[in-house]
Symmetry: C2
Subunit: 118 residues, 2 copies
DNA sequence: GCACCAGGTATACTTTAGGATACAGGTATC
DNA sequence: GATACCTGTATCCTAAAGTATACCTGGTGC
């Protein structure tokens, strides 16, 4: 009886950590959420995004954009103007990342405060 | 006027991404939150934690425990028994990581569902 | 023609995360 | 005396993340 419960509980635990690791895989890393936030706040073009996060090199930006596109968090659209422009926009699905980004922002701010108060 | 607002907004944006990056630094990575969760769910000893997450090697566990201790998320106490035991417990401050871990768990579960439904 | 811009890619590098394996040092047990 | 358990550490390695710098292509403006 107790064993059965432990097995079930362990199963729940493993599902939990797998979910967290998946999130980490998709949204983890130093630049992913910042890039999403930058696009969300209105930057559509490569150089605009790059300018909004000057510490990130354009090679990294290029890679992150690809990763985000592959995970359906952003759209890359080619505008056939002269000259051709490329616009990045977040997908409706991407809005769900807010539920992760916001608590992380809060926690980070609080953590800095905590460190300072010591 | 408009410039002033943009500068202010930009400042807010930079504060935001710094906070997220700090959180990533402390809680990011494949194993950090799982280790916290394992301790939270009752595992106090090195081998118990290791057994609860068999995919992680003990070298990685050792490193993560050190990192978590340095960031005041767990306590390491030596129990002077024979043989000497060592117990890891989460700090009160560590409870605040729930506010990050839970949304990540939810998002990860939803993400998997999203991928499957395509 | 020439310089310049947008939106990247190429190349080469360093750093960090994470993994595989072994085993140490003390206690306890057979 | 040999062996096993506990809590890790040591050594070596690979892969991924991130950095630095240069360069490309196809326009535009002068």
């Amino acid at each position: 009886m107790k064993d059965k419960r432990n097995i079930k509980e362990n199963e729940r635990f493993r599902v939990k950590i797998r979910a967290i690791q998946d999130t980490m895989f998709v949204l983890g890393g130093k630049w992913r959420l910042p890039v999403i936030l930058s696009i969300y706040s209105g930057n559509k073009r490569f150089n605009d995004i790059a300018a909004s996060i000057p510490e990130m090199t354009n090679r990294v930006l290029s890679k992150e954009l690809k990763h985000l596109e592959e995970n359906r968090l952003i759209n890359r659209t080619i505008i056939p103007d002269y000259p051709v422009r490329i616009e990045y926009t977040i997908t409706p699905y991407c809005l769900s990342t807010q539920s992760v980004a916001e608590p992380m922002e809060k926690w980070g701010k609080n953590h800095i405060k905590m460190l300072k108060s010591q």
